[in-house]
């Protein structure tokens, strides 16, 4: 559905993203992950025609996405920064955006306004950071766009509203079977929602696979501290957590039959790692250098 071919973007002489080749397919929820300044927002801005790539092309359903009103009408992307006119009232924002998106669902938008308890008579400048995020979330979810992009969607939202948001994303996805891209730092929160993960580091794609495939690159062994220490002697450690006589260690490797056998012998448990731990492993400069 979205295809990025050899995308490179320079800011002056500094490369923001280099030679990116990516495809976002219809019917998946993607997690676009990366450290600060990794190039996530640059990729989103290039897809949405907000900035131009220095090299490369972007296609949406086979059509060139650059300066194309019709291709861009298939995407609604909320940004981390608030770029809507600050004097604009929430209800006016809903009205004006509806004019750009043929299938904008006003009824659903109003329902979300009530659900998130947002005062539609307020201007955007009077809203808190959290409510500004909510305003943009409502626009995106109600747009019914074929491609919905959320860039740091839960900025300033409390746990309750974050929960509501994730539920609404899943509901919307079930109804529309569209493409959803979520770019966030809160990796564990989206780990149960996203089906595919794209990890960007220093402007390059370093992982592009399903959540399960990404997690396969590591595993957690836990149990009695002495036994776990015995188990990890010859293995590459990624992360350690201990509590009293209990120790849980994330191992930086795929789990092998030997690992399973050793763990069973020592009466240890092997489980899947947290997505965040794998992410840290993949993007940590120190760890890569040590390897």
């Amino acid at each position: 559905m979205i295809a990025l071919n050899n995308i490179t973007k320079f800011y002056n002489t500094k490369p923001a993203v280099t030679n990116i080749n990516l495809e976002f397919e219809k019917g998946y929820i993607y997690g676009l992950l990366g450290r600060n300044g990794a190039g996530k927002t640059t990729i989103i801005n290039i897809i949405t025609n907000r900035i131009f790539a220095t090299e490369g092309q972007v296609f949406i359903d086979g059509d060139n996405a650059v300066e194309n009103d019709f291709a861009q009408a298939k995407i609604f992307s909320m940004t981390e920064k608030s770029s809507y006119p600050s004097e604009m009232k929430v209800r006016d924002g809903l009205k004006w955006v509806k004019g750009f998106y043929n299938n904008f669902d006003t009824q659903y938008a109003n329902k979300l306004c009530k659900l998130f308890n947002i005062d539609t008579s307020k201007s955007l400048k009077a809203l808190s950071t959290g409510y500004n995020s909510i305003f943009k979330l409502i626009l995106t979810l109600a747009s019914t766009a074929e491609i919905m992009i959320f860039d740091e969607p839960v900025l300033g939202l409390d746990a309750n509203y974050r929960e509501i948001f994730y539920k609404e994303v899943l509901k919307r996805f079930a109804e529309l079977n569209n493409t959803i891209i979520i770019s966030t730092h809160l990796i564990e929160e989206i780990s149960n929602i996203v089906e595919k993960i794209i990890i960007i580091d220093e402007g390059k794609i370093i992982a592009n696979a399903s959540t399960d495939e990404i997690k396969e690159n590591a595993y957690v062994v836990s149990g009695n501290k002495t036994k776990v220490e015995e188990f990890i002697k010859t293995r590459k450690i990624l992360h350690t957590e201990s509590l009293g006589n209990y120790l849980a260690v994330t191992i930086n490797d795929k789990v092998s039959s030997k690992d399973l056998h050793d763990a069973k012998t020592l009466d240890l448990e092997i489980t899947a790692p947290k997505l965040q731990e794998v992410f840290i492993k993949l993007t940590s400069k120190e760890k890569l250098d040590n390897e």
């Binding site: 194309n68 009103d69 861009q72 809507y84």
Partner: protein, 241 residues
Amino acid sequence: MNKTISKKKLLHLTKFHVRSTYYYLFIITGILLFNLLIAVLITSLDNTGESGSGSLDSVTLVHSFILGIVFFYSTFKFALLNGVSRRTYYLSSLLYLVIYSFFFTVITSITIVIAEAVTNTFTIYSLMYGYNFISMFIWLFLACLFFELLGWLISCVFYRTYKKARLIISVSLLLVIPIFVFINYLSNGAFGISVLNFISAIFGFNSTIPNPFIAMVTLLVLSLILAGSIFLLVRKAGIRE
């Protein structure tokens, strides 16, 4: 070549432009009526019959320039956020400025007609070309458009450049007058006379009776040059957050 400009988006964005700055029409109307009221008061208090109002059209031209400067920042971002291409944004903005130039001209012309009926009045146009309602209307419309485009161009230049470049541009503009004076001094005044002759010619003052139609053509050509320059700046502009 595939169609890439959506007429629906273009018209909706134009409507957004018009609605988001409609208060400018009230501001201009308010200022013009206030000036008119003061002129009427002064005329009624002054028995000599020599006092009156002047330069009502200058109020409109100044506000046209301000409108050109202020509308761009917020509407450009809003357009890009809603999947509108730069070309569509550019065409929509041109349409919007033409509409506003027309509104400004109508409001100002009506005020001038009323002012002429109730008090002594003069306008920039009448001082330069004498009085003819239709040619004044066309001249004012083109002058409004020119000043709006000039404001938009300045806004675009500042949007596309960074702090250092802005400083260089600002300083360069400040240096224009001293450089002009210096060259004029070196040429014993010939340079200044040539420039003034050129300006006089393009604004229709070279003949014994000033010709407003030459000024109209000049304003139209200058507006087209400005519009072309703006297009070059807008077509590659990115969102700046």
